[in-house]
């Protein structure tokens, strides 16, 4: 029952929060009810003819033609009203969902969850695609049907009551019993469907990895192993699906049996009432039609309950996103823009944890002077990447102070921060477009010449010109037509063209070959002269070439100093460096 309640809350909330759903809803519902009268025309028409004695006595042809014409006009009008009502429902649903979709997207764009929980990105994409589509589907098929069904049931029962209260009560009570039975079976059916869904996910996972892992499967001759695994998953899926459908089949078939039962009851009770003079023959015949009209929508409505639950679950997931407060808040127009010129960074007692997890950065304190070139090193998971993301304010610190150019970071408007502070991640994302367009994503107004110049600045023209079409080269989906190292080059140029005053490089050249990496670093150092930079690197040649090295270990800043000083100290850095020297020594 709580599920039902939650579903109802979600629907009420959707109606409240999204005006497009509400617009003209009252009138639409009115049209829905009016439109359903089309189903009542025939029973009433038959009743009138029978009770006018037309079936047994001499007939009045004109009167029949007249009432037939009236009935036809009624049907035609109802059809038009039906159409209008359904279109209005469809338009309201589509427009409302469009609003929800774009709002959800905008909200996600402003949360740091996309940065902190990479593995959840797929699930978040489905918030704005699958979840919305499921709701749309439900509204088109189930939701509209539900509204129309409710209208039809109410009107049908009203007409029944008008004809005969006892007979109507028989039908209503029997139907209520039937609905109760359906609802309890529905729960069993729901569980069967849940099991089937798990089996389906297994099949998709197994089939998906068989296809995406083809090279490895072939290299290891594991075709038979993978096929056998898929066969097992497929068999399990078939059984789960077939079992769920069997349950559904029996549930579905009960409608016919129930119609029969109620019809038989109506005939028996109706004749009894009729003999006592409380019901006419026409009314009884009309009842037979009305019963046939009632069971269908009732059954559809019960089936819709299942769909409604999953649509409501989708709604709730979307509201969850919309309810999540924006954790990295833009200071906006009230903020303090960064001062002109090169920037320094002051860090005092900085701490950070992902969600409720343990601190991944603890009490980090240091100052980076204007124009200083800092290298940040440490093992995987030491907190060095988190540190640079905090400086770029891609995530929000949990404790301590952070100032850039003397301004507390939370007071700097994003417009100013993004313009002056550049961050290049290890895996910069490329759009499925040309190199030119990808670089221009960094500065929308950059001309072709400026883009070319940026490559020239970094001594990358040789590489650019070695591509078949230079700047016009298509990089493919996620840059797949370039190698990992080449993707990094484009991502670097994309930030470079912004001419920032504080540059943060997070293993931004980890995949390029050593000779090219050295050349890139030299170019950057030459051009950044006088500007501040923080470079995270696992190749320690970068540390050797920096002004100062920060060494992170298990979330703490454990060593700070020049390369030479730290070597001398014989601590964490010295050990890492020894490892590195062994790794790169050519003899």
């Amino acid at each position: 029952m709580s599920e039902h309640l939650k579903a109802r809350e979600a629907v009420i909330r959707a109606l409240r929060d999204v005006p497009a759903f509400r617009r003209g809803l009252g009138f639409t519902l009115f049209l829905v009810v009016v439109g359903t009268t089309v189903n009542l025309v025939t029973p009433v028409f038959v009743q009138r003819i029978v009770d006018a004695g037309q079936f047994s006595d001499a007939i009045d042809r004109t009167a029949i033609m007249q009432s037939g014409t009236v009935a036809l006009i009624g049907v035609a009008l109802a059809a038009l009203v039906n159409r209008r009502a359904n279109i209005r429902l469809g338009v309201a649903a589509t427009s409302g969902l469009h609003d929800m979709r774009t709002r959800t997207f905008g909200s996600l764009q402003r949360q740091s969850i996309l940065v902190t929980q990479e593995e959840r990105r797929g699930a978040l994409v489905s918030r704005v695609t699958n979840d919305i589509e499921r709701i749309q589907e439900f509204m088109e098929w189930g939701g509209v049907g539900l509204l129309v069904g409710v209208g039809r049931v109410i009107l049908t029962i009203a007409v029944m009551l008008w004809y005969s209260v006892p007979l109507a009560l028989l039908v209503v009570v029997a139907t209520a019993v039937y609905v109760g039975m359906l609802l309890s079976f529905q729960r069993i059916l729901g569980r069967a469907h849940d099991r089937a869904r798990v089996a389906v996910a297994d099949v998709l996972g197994t089939a998906g990895e068989a296809i995406s892992g083809l090279p490895i499967i072939r290299a290891y001759g594991a075709e038979r192993h993978v096929s056998a695994k898929l066969d097992r998953a497929l068999e399990k899926e078939f059984k789960a699906d077939f079992r769920a459908s069997m349950l559904g089949n029996f549930l579905f078939a009960t409608a016919e049996a129930f119609t029969g039962l109620i019809t038989a009851g109506v005939i028996v009770l109706g004749i009894t009432l009729g003999v006592a003079g409380n019901l006419t023959a026409g009314e009884l015949i009309a009842f037979l039609f009305l019963v046939a009209l009632l069971v269908d929508p009732v059954q559809t409505m019960v089936e819709t309950v299942d769909g409604a639950q999953s649509a409501a679950a989708g709604l709730r997931r979307i509201f969850e996103v919309l309810d999540t407060p924006i954790d990295v808040v833009d200071a906006g127009v009230g903020g303090v823009p960064l001062p002109a010129g090169t920037l320094d960074v002051e860090v005092d007692g900085l701490s950070f944890a992902y969600g409720e997890g343990p601190l991944v950065l603890e009490e980090v304190t240091l100052n980076v002077a204007r124009g200083e070139r800092i290298a940040v090193v440490g093992e995987t998971g030491s907190g060095k990447t988190t540190f640079t993301k905090l400086v770029a304010r891609l995530i929000e610190r949990d404790g301590g102070e952070l100032r850039i150019g003397g301004v507390p970071i939370e007071r700097i408007p994003f417009s100013s921060l993004r313009e002056r502070v550049g961050f290049v991640p290890q895996e910069g994302f490329l759009h499925d477009a040309t190199i030119l367009e990808n670089v221009r994503y960094g500065r929308l107004e950059a001309t072709d010449d400026e883009v070319r110049q940026a490559f020239a600045d970094l001594d990358l023209l040789d590489w650019l010109d070695s591509l078949p079409e230079g700047l016009a080269t298509e990089v493919g989906e996620r840059g797949s037509r370039l190698s990992a190292g080449e993707r990094q080059l484009v991502a670097l140029v994309r930030v470079w063209i912004r001419e920032v005053d504080l540059l943060l490089l997070d293993e931004a050249t980890s995949a390029v070959d050593p000779a090219l990496e050295v050349s890139l670093r030299n170019a950057i150092n030459r051009l950044l002269e006088g500007r501040t930079s923080l470079t995270v690197a696992h190749r320690l040649s970068t540390a050797e070439a920096s002004d100062r090295v920060l060494v992170f270990d298990r979330g703490r800043l454990v060593e700070v100093g020049t390369h030479a000083e730290l070597l001398e100290r014989g601590g964490v850095y010295a050990a890492m460096h020894a490892d590195w020297v062994v790794g790169t020594a050519t003899v």
Partner: protein, 596 residues
């Protein structure tokens, strides 16, 4: 060949598709069809029962004062009997149809994946993997979807014909009227399904665009945020969502217009038939029960008649889905195997390449590659980014065949090896470790039956045991999609253990330890050298320390082997090799010089 674009074309290809599925699972179809016939027959019967009840029970008793007693129970029994027959028909039909649909879906999905697993890498490389997966998922389900409602639609068609016949027998005039209405409704709904189907294709395209925009901006979230492009992304998404909304509203208007006609024409038909029926009654040609019976029958047709339109729509959709599957089935570029069996030697294999040339497309990647590797040697392949190292590795693993020349293992051309023979002798570890949604052990064995001690030994050698033992359930820990996430270096070590378990005669490592810390990597490579493995090793590497462990280096530049020899020799003789390997040292030296 693309999806059929004419009405007749859709019907033809749809029927061919249906015939194929029915032939594959005739039993399911037969049961479903029998159920459907029972259902159609019992609907016709139920209308006759209502007619009989009207005449002999209701009108006789209430208007002509006949005795009700015995008749009542007879009427109730008759009504119940046809209802049970209907229920039975429904269950039988749905069980059969479910079997037909689900079994065909299962068969088709198995066949699709099996087929893809046999196709060569030339073909595979041209595909977007996501698209292939979606064919195996959505298109397979979509193409078999119509098998569910199909038997009902066939039954409904028979029911419509039966209705016309029944009404015609009762009264030819009413029969003609009923037929006229039914034909009109069917035409309207086929037309509606066809028009709507055309619009749906466009909506799917818009949905695709929208999903692509969402994927791009979420996958690239770090970049989007770092560049402050959130609003730009939101605007782009909104624009696409808006286009989708417009299309959806268009289709709603078209669809609802057809639907309004289809749903309401039967009601109009009832009225016309009753009106004319009363005239025929007055002429003594019909009984009142006949009229009620016909009207009642028409009201039972409301739903089946709508279903015919839906099924035609599904037919068109299924054909489109099937087209995408068939395009893959049409590909016959299978990997070819020869007859040569694997050798069960516990010795390294001799590897040779003679005049090997290769390109993924017209652009040559490797040219004139000649290699001779004696058994048991460790050979490093070194070269700048994009020089063809990985390509050489995948040719040795026979993921591709050379365009020219030949690669041999102990003088046997790789192309002559029997299916499954090469994996018995060779193991290949790629740059990016591919792990399955399975346990650590399952990922290492890939179905090979071996004692646990062997798995552990392989993991030891790959330096994987320390972190595996710390996992929740050790080697039984589920990894991959729904399990523990491993770091890049850990994934690489599991993949390496997978290769080592097989004690291959040729081991190919393509930068397979790049994410492992240098000290661990050197431990692994030293371990490999000292372990009693039978292997010849070919390793693609950047780190000088790994390279230094090799017996020989092949230096690759622009797709050619420009030098080969021991590391020290190349360092002295080959300027390109020296520049690459000494980049860091020289950089440090330059700084020291500049500083001094």
């Amino acid at each position: 060949m693309s999806a059929p674009t004419t009405f007749g074309g859709v019907l033809r290809s749809g029927f061919r598709l249906i015939a194929r599925f029915i032939k594959a699972r005739p039993g399911g179809f037969a049961v479903a069809f029998a159920g459907s016939l029972t259902y159609a027959a019992s609907i016709l019967a139920s209308s006759r029962v209502i007619g009989w009840v009207t005449d002999t029970v209701i009108l006789d008793v209430l208007e002509r004062g006949a005795e009700a007693a015995g008749l009542l129970w007879k009427a109730a029994a008759a009504v119940m009997a046809v209802s049970l027959a209907k229920s039975l028909g429904v269950v039988t039909r749905r069980v059969g149809a479910g079997w037909l649909q689900l079994k065909n879906r299962q068969d088709l999905r198995r066949r699709f994946v099996g087929h893809v697993l046999k196709l060569d890498m030339d073909w595979y490389n041209r595909q977007a993997v996501g698209n292939l997966i979606s064919i195996g998922d959505a298109d397979v389900s979509g193409s078999t979807f119509l098998l569910g409602p199909l038997p009902f639609a066939l039954g409904a068609t028979l029911l419509l014909i039966g209705t016309i016949v029944l009404v015609f027998i009762l009264d030819p005039l009413l029969g003609v009227i009923a037929m006229g209405f039914i034909v009109v409704v069917v035409i309207i709904e086929l037309r509606g399904a066809w028009v709507t189907f055309g619009l749906v294709a466009e909506i799917q395209a818009r949905r695709g665009e929208l999903a692509a925009a969402a994927h791009e901006s979420f996958d690239g979230a770090l970049t989007v945020k770092a560049l402050g492009r959130e609003q730009w992304e939101t605007d782009r998404f909104t624009e696409r969502s808006d286009r989708l909304r417009e299309r959806l509203i268009n289709i709603t208007i078209v669809w609802e217009s057809f639907k309004a006609a289809v749903q309401n024409v039967p009601a109009a038909a009832q009225i016309v038939i009753i009106t004319f029926g009363v005239f025929r009654l007055a002429d003594g040609l019909l009984t009142a029960g006949d009229i009620v019976s016909v009207a009642y029958l028409l009201s039972l047709l409301f739903w089946p008649i709508q279903l015919i339109g839906f099924v035609f729509f599904d037919l068109a959709a299924s054909s489109a889905h099937w087209e995408r599957i068939e395009a893959v089935f049409r590909e016959q570029t299978y990997v070819r195997y020869g007859q040569t069996a694997a050798v069960d030697d516990d010795t390294g294999a001799a590897v040779s390449a003679a005049a090997v040339g290769f390109g993924y497309d017209e652009t040559p990647v490797l040219t004139d590659v000649d290699i001779e590797i004696p058994p048991g040697r460790i050979v490093a392949v070194v070269g700048p980014t994009g020089s063809g190292k990985t390509t050489l590795a995948v040719l040795l693993a026979r993921l591709w065949d050379p365009r020219t020349g030949a690669i041999r293992l102990d003088d046997r051309d790789l192309r002559d090896m029997a299916a499954g023979a090469l994996p018995d002798e060779m193991a290949y570890v790629a740059q990016e470790a591919f792990l399955f949604d399975d346990t650590v052990r399952g990922n290492i064995t890939l179905g090979v039956e071996v004692p646990d001690a062997d798995v552990r030994r392989a993991a030891d050698l790959a330096n994987a045991t320390p972190f595996v033992d710390e996992l929740e359930s050790g080697f039984d820990t589920q990894i991959g999609e729904r399990g523990t996430t491993l770091s890049g270096g850990q994934r690489q070590r599991v993949a390496l253990a997978r290769a080592l378990l097989r004690r291959p005669r040729l081991l190919i490592l393509d930068d397979a330890t790049s994410a492992v810390d240098p000290s661990v990597e050197s431990r692994i490579l030293h371990g490999l050298r000292e372990a009693d493995l039978p292997s010849t090793v070919v390793l693609v590497a950047y780190r000088a320390s790994s390279i230094a462990l090799s017996d020989e280096v092949l230096f690759v530049e622009d797709g050619r082997i420009v030098a080969a020899g021991p590391h020290d020799e190349l360092l002295e003789q080959e300027p390109g090799y020296q520049r690459l390997l000494k980049a860091y040292e020289e950089d440090a030296a330059a700084r020291a010089g500049g500083g001094a």
